[in-house]
Symmetry: C2
Subunit: 244 residues, 2 copies
Amino acid sequence: MGRTAAALVIGNEILSGKVQDTNSRSLAIALRGLGIEFQRIVVVSDDVALIASEVNALRHQHDLLFTSGGVGPTHDDVTVEGIARALGRSVVRSSEMESRLRTHYGERLTEGHLRMADVVEGTELYPGSDARWPTMVLGNIFVLPGVPQIFLYKLEGLLPRLRGTEIPYTTRSVYTSADEGPIKPALDRTVANYPAVSIGSYPRWNDSDHHVRVTFDSRDEALSLAASEAFAALLPPATFIRAE
Amino acid sequence: MGRTAAALVIGNEILSGKVQDTNSRSLAIALRGLGIEFQRIVVVSDDVALIASEVNALRHQHDLLFTSGGVGPTHDDVTVEGIARALGRSVVRSSEMESRLRTHYGERLTEGHLRMADVVEGTELYPGSDARWPTMVLGNIFVLPGVPQIFLYKLEGLLPRLRGTEIPYTTRSVYTSADEGPIKPALDRTVANYPAVSIGSYPRWNDSDHHVRVTFDSRDEALSLAASEAFAALLPPATFIRAE
């Protein structure tokens, strides 16, 4: 059994529909590549008490917790405070971060910028992609920013740190022109015969390419291939489009 | 105080990164238009026990709960079973849904299709956008499908049912060429002077248009306008781009 992970996405802008969250999908793809099971995403607003309560629930229920958003210098950036409250720790100014900010901003440095040097007591500053802008790590909590490009850049820098002994999942896909009703017998039989393969059925709406994509996921590449081939062989005549 | 809402997005395909969830954003935009406060999004896998537990938490903590996904005919469509378990009810075949499915599919009807006639005992079938394909409603739970086009179509059909007495939020935005450090004094002062306005600061990365967008949200249009104008007047010289 490999490690499990959750994401806590923080930001009023997601819940008001101003911004589409794409960070949790970037994280999903990265965790998948590592073979870590991504079990839950929670999105909440910029509220210290809510963040604290979710951080505490998620960090105990999962091996790894990633937060997204709320780490800049402005009033609505309250993730650090939320995590501090969850852990019952103080927020302290990091001299290491302060010195990096002073070097970077020079004469342009404001008191506002310095707020980004405030960290939860006991924070590890992991160098990651760019030693000048380390990522805050608190035990099993990885604190990432909301801006998608920086989220992804920092996430990539965490990969060596996150890599464990898990074997990544392999996905095989079968595309069919039939809808879910007629393929259900083939699907049910394959599900019964391959209990160790996670099988998903994804219908499309007005897609000129295919009607349903069926995916076969397993940490055992040969098994996902075998399940996909068994399913394809059971499909109603002339409904198979392709496998990949 | 208006009503609050949560979304439960169900699907392994989101957590594996195969698919980007866009339904929760469609819901965010719709709820915003209605003036309903969207407080939380939770994404979990196709697991009956997990769905049941989340449904029970979310339906009690919020006035409205919307589920997305897991309502088709295949083995991985377990949302109805999850909601039934949450409510301590049975899954029963709806004769109304069965007759609609028989009419629609005619001779092509399979046992698989009929699984879509299985509903939680006591389900209300709300006609919505298309009386042929009603939406399942259970008290404050609205059950929507995962396919984005159908999700949106059904959501639009629910709007008359969801509309209450809430006054929708108005958003004013100020775009600036400064980064968050230098605008923080103007921001902090505006936040202090307009406690009834929800103010958000959203930095962009390598955007040729602007560096930070600051938004001012209120159910009182005049107040959000006043806050945005007060903030714009406090910005450092030559950093204001536009307001809208």
